[in-house]
């Protein structure tokens, strides 16, 4: 689904507004837009029994976290899409760990959220440029590159597992990911 830049700004503004006013109507609008995306993300998780129920639970867990934490969202540091992705990613990690009955006090937010939370605000122009580069590059990737990216990000498999699954040398998987990231200008120093 393609979106224009102004669509995206709209969601980011709506999320920032939710953080200030905690209005249920804003929350419902965000739910209607993001829940089907989060569900698709949940469904792409590497096959587990009860995947459908898992995806619904992921939507619920993620959206409740969005409600609780909206006041910590800072529109100068992230877009709504990126912020909600990181919340869905962490919620998925926690649900998978819970499902595997790992007993630990530590959860995904201890290991992931704060690390990104103190990002310096980026110039709006630069952020827009970065997002556009990433978006355009992703839609133009050769299949063998988009396939490995999807496995790493959506199915949640580390490089090593992707290599085993596709019966490729680890170095090949690495270089496909690196090629893709280079097209987004992500791994070259500033």
């Amino acid at each position: 689904m393609t979106q224009t830049a102004s669509d995206r700004e709209m969601w980011t503004e709506l999320l920032a507004g939710l953080g200030k006013r905690h209005d249920r109507q804003d929350f419902i609008a965000l739910f209607n837009h993001f829940a089907p995306q989060i569900k698709a993300y949940g469904l792409s998780t590497q096959a587990t029994p009860g995947l459908h129920a898992f995806a619904e639970e992921l939507v619920q867990e993620t959206m409740i976290r969005v409600w609780r934490r909206a006041s910590t969202f800072d529109a100068s540091k992230a877009s709504a899409t990126t912020w909600i992705f990181t919340i869905a990613r962490n919620a998925r990690i926690d649900l998978l760990r819970r499902g595997a009955k790992h007993k630990s006090d530590v959860d995904a937010d201890d290991v992931w959220l704060e690390a990104e939370a103190d990002q310096q605000p980026v110039e709006e122009l630069e952020a827009d440029r970065n997002r556009r580069l990433v978006r355009e590059a992703i839609s133009q990737l050769p299949i063998e590159q988009s396939q490995v990216l999807a496995k790493v990000y959506l199915e949640g498999k580390p490089h090593s597992e992707v290599a085993r699954e596709l019966n490729l040398p680890l170095g090949t998987v690495k270089s496909r990911v690196r090629l893709a990231l280079n097209k987004m200008k992500l791994l070259v120093p500033q």
Partner: protein, 218 residues
């Protein structure tokens, strides 16, 4: 100033949430001291956001929104502060729940006169996560890794043939890498390590001083 960083494979797996929990913990400790990797990691999260955004949306079940609205009714929308405001001296944020009383209250287990370890229960079935403390000038015997060994320095420093490692520095060694870390002379070196297979010791000392010999992923 940190000098040894996770490579793009590790950082991408981390941002995607696909890196094992124990290794991710090591990355988190590194990120705390490395603004450059923090910036890259958040850019790599943008990639995940775009990939999620480009998936074909799937309608959720009818009752889901009502269920969620019912749940948030009683839920405060204020930020939840579950972490003490004042950081514990010398303990990275990611380790605060694991080390509530700081690095000096760790129940160390003696391995040799110069080497101690303490296993941390992080609930990672694939990785053994432990703290390792080497006395000044002490070493870990030369060893190879059956799988991946990820290390981040918390205090002090060590050297091996790969270079000098100080607080915040990150190193990930694969199956075929062999090394013999030696702690710097001036202070204890404390590291956090995650390893997904028992080490294989190559030298004589390994036979008696294998710090991880009785440790398996739990």
């Amino acid at each position: 100033m940190v000098h040894h960083h996770p490579d793009s494979e590790v950082l991408t797996d981390y941002a995607a949430g696909s890196l094992a929990f124990g290794q991710s913990l090591c990355v988190a400790v590194h990120l705390e001291g490395c603004p450059e990797c923090r910036r890259r990691s958040s850019q790599l999260s943008q990639v995940g956001a775009e990939l999620m955004n480009q998936l074909v949306p799937v309608a959720v079940e009818d009752g889901l929104l009502d269920r969620i609205l019912g749940e948030i009714d009683g839920v405060s929308a204020l930020p939840v502060v579950d972490i003490p405001a004042s950081p514990i001296e010398g303990v990275p944020r990611a380790l605060r729940k694991l080390l509530p009383d700081g690095l000096d209250a760790v129940p160390w287990k003696r391995v040799t006169s110069r080497l101690q370890t303490a296993v941390l229960g992080v609930g990672d079935a694939a990785n053994q996560v432990a703290l390792v403390r080497i006395k000044p000038g002490g070493s870990i015997p030369e060893h190879r890794h059956g799988g991946t060994e990820t290390t981040v320095v918390l205090r002090g420093g060590f050297s091996d043939r790969g270079g000098n490692y100080l607080a915040g520095d990150f190193v990930s060694l694969g199956e075929d890498d062999s090394h013999q870390p030696i702690a710097h002379q001036n202070s204890d070196c404390i590291c956090l390590t995650a390893q997904n297979a028992p080490l294989q010791f190559t030298g004589f000392w390994g036979k008696i001083a294998n710090p991880f010999i009785s440790i398996h992923p739990q």
